[in-house]
Subunit: 269 residues, 2 copies
Amino acid sequence: MNSVKHPPSARDRARGEVTTVQRALNLLRIVGASERPIGVNEIARRLEQHASAVSRTLSTLEHNGFVERDEETGRFVLGVELIALASRLLAELDVVRVARPYLEELAESTRETASLSLWNKTEAINIEHVLGPGSIKHIAAPGRRNPAHCTATGKAMLSQMPGSTLEEVLALGLERYTDRTITEGNALERELRCVRERGYALNVGEFIPETAAIAAVIHDRRGRVVAAIAVTMPVFHFTQQSERQLAPLVMNAAATISRRLGHHGAQTI
Amino acid sequence: MNSVKHPPSARDRARGEVTTVQRALNLLRIVGASERPIGVNEIARRLEQHASAVSRTLSTLEHNGFVERDEETGRFVLGVELIALASRLLAELDVVRVARPYLEELAESTRETASLSLWNKTEAINIEHVLGPGSIKHIAAPGRRNPAHCTATGKAMLSQMPGSTLEEVLALGLERYTDRTITEGNALERELRCVRERGYALNVGEFIPETAAIAAVIHDRRGRVVAAIAVTMPVFHFTQQSERQLAPLVMNAAATISRRLGHHGAQTI
DNA sequence: CAATACAGTTGCATTATCTGCAACACGGAC
DNA sequence: GTCCGTGTTGCAGATAATGCAACTGTATTG
């Protein structure tokens, strides 16, 4: 007898049901997303949990170095242990090392901010940026999460992902951030087709009203999409002319980085 | 002031008692410490837990992007989510950015491997390294954990920590790694006094038999010890002469980095 | 200066989740 | 074929997490 495929318990876990660990990870993300140190009660409110539970979980996380307590305020920030875990990963990611000089080159030649993002599940994550001379700060800062449907790096990478990934993204709902955000599935699919055809993705105020960006994907030696680079600028810098100028620069840099990672042009989806 | 009066339950958490989250974090550390992708049963053996429990926890972690499954083997490695959390931290840590050029300079002038470590609870953690021309690989690699009592960066930072930290380290037990490892509390205290006096720490085969290192601490603008830099070499490169040559280089680099972080010589413990 | 409000922590009884077991599916070795 | 090993799942019992209420300490208020 073949046991039929019920949606069973571990599947529930995978779908984000209530587990203690799940709650702890959400907590960690909230601490990470906060600009300033964050207190127990504030976390509890955002998680819709009781302060006592949060306090105890934080105690465990603190003891393990995943969060740290600000000496003066007693509030929490992420801890060094995360760096310990991530730094090996980062060191092993060739793309970071290879891309950095090209980011600097891009930032200099475009006089805007250049950044590198990785794909994570259903979103892009910035991990490196080089500020251009007069550029806005904090845009494209490392650790920032870029939704797939309304950012340049997000759309660039999503356009190369298998259909299942697009479905996941659609299932999450296309949240509206500005009046330019694409919130309709078919429109997004059209946009992604367009991105594939021209080889770069645009975002003009779809996520943050004042910023625009141009992005292109990076492939590794096996042809997989591993990252994307972007040039981010204030919306008022963005014109058809700048698009014509910048797009080739971004695509060239991305292609060069891909080549240096051993990519030979064969696209394995 | 946190004058804790009772030794109560959350203290138990802090002391690493069994909690579900605690187990998940240990699991994460094991995945992170593994050189290659690691399977459910192997993790279960190391944690002395049942494979079923590990499997379920991994399921949650995977869904959250904290671990990823190697496509071919089905084994686990750390996930991009950790980079997402850590990269902001890293970007905000001035010391990393400031230190990098000096690491490169050190690596070049000494023709050995230069590295930067942060302090985490009771150990030092490498987060950056520059390989010297002919140097051994993987020593001082990012993510590597350096015990406080038998590594150069560990001893350098521990020597500047308050007594309570030393007590914590002693309480963990001074594990023996080689026949040169200091395993006796009083001997370690003497060694630390010596480190404070001469301004740099040595490790000659106390952790890994074949490697030696010289380290000095970095202070931030408030005089706090935030990091240490080290030059690591094969043990057979290490002589009294090389110590005399390298120690000033390391101390100078550390002092320069401290100065660039705004440290003015006032040591606030 | 008391009165008040809020943050953070803890003990305890209840409840809900997690664990361990046993069984199963799958794959490889012989 | 059998015999390992790995990974996953359902289930019932074991265990750890929860929510409450109480308490402390620290701001904020009148």
